[in-house]
Amino acid sequence: STISGDIKTTQEEPKIKSFRPLSPHLSVYQPQMNSMLSIFNRISGVYLTGVTFAGYLLYLKMGMICLTYPSFYQVLYHTQQQLPVITSVTALAAIYHTIKSTHSLLTH
């Protein structure tokens, strides 16, 4: 019985490891102002990074390679259609990231 128990525990270990919670344990704590502002600062930074690199790839890199492919034209067309939304969200994220970073620089 001990051997089978050992086998069971060894089999269950990777399952437990794969469901480890991520570091800001949002489900454990109640949402607080400071932590939420910090998390959104990080999210806005990652979003701005994504927009920067996606814009670089789309406008500086892909155009030279892919303008002969119709599917690339479709992607470019749909991106251009969503451009006002993307630009607005990017502007909001940039303003938020700047203000929060300046605030945390001044306070810490």
Binding site: L22, S23, R42, G45, V46, T49, T52, F53, Y56, L60, K61
Partner: protein, 73 residues
């Protein structure tokens, strides 16, 4: 004289117009690298994987910088 002054008032480039304002945004890439390194330190616990991602990101950013500088020339 006026034409000459107008010609030299703008930076000349291969496309006839300037994108010199991009030069001021190059340090943004270094800021992105710092921020991504911090985020990866928080979420990627395997040291080897983290180093691999950081180095790949650094290489990608070197390529981005190269392309931006070439675009400006």
């Amino acid at each position: 004289e006026l034409n000459k002054a107008a010609k030299f008032s703008r930076q000349s480039s291969s496309r006839g117009y300037t994108n010199g304002s991009f030069l001021r945004k190059i340090p943004v890439v270094f800021h992105i690298h710092e921020g991504m390194e911090e985020i990866l330190a928080d979420y990627v616990h395997q040291e080897m994987t983290r180093n691999l991602i950081v180095m790949s990101l650094g290489l990608f950013q070197i390529i981005v910088l190269k392309d931006i500088i070439l675009f400006l020339l």
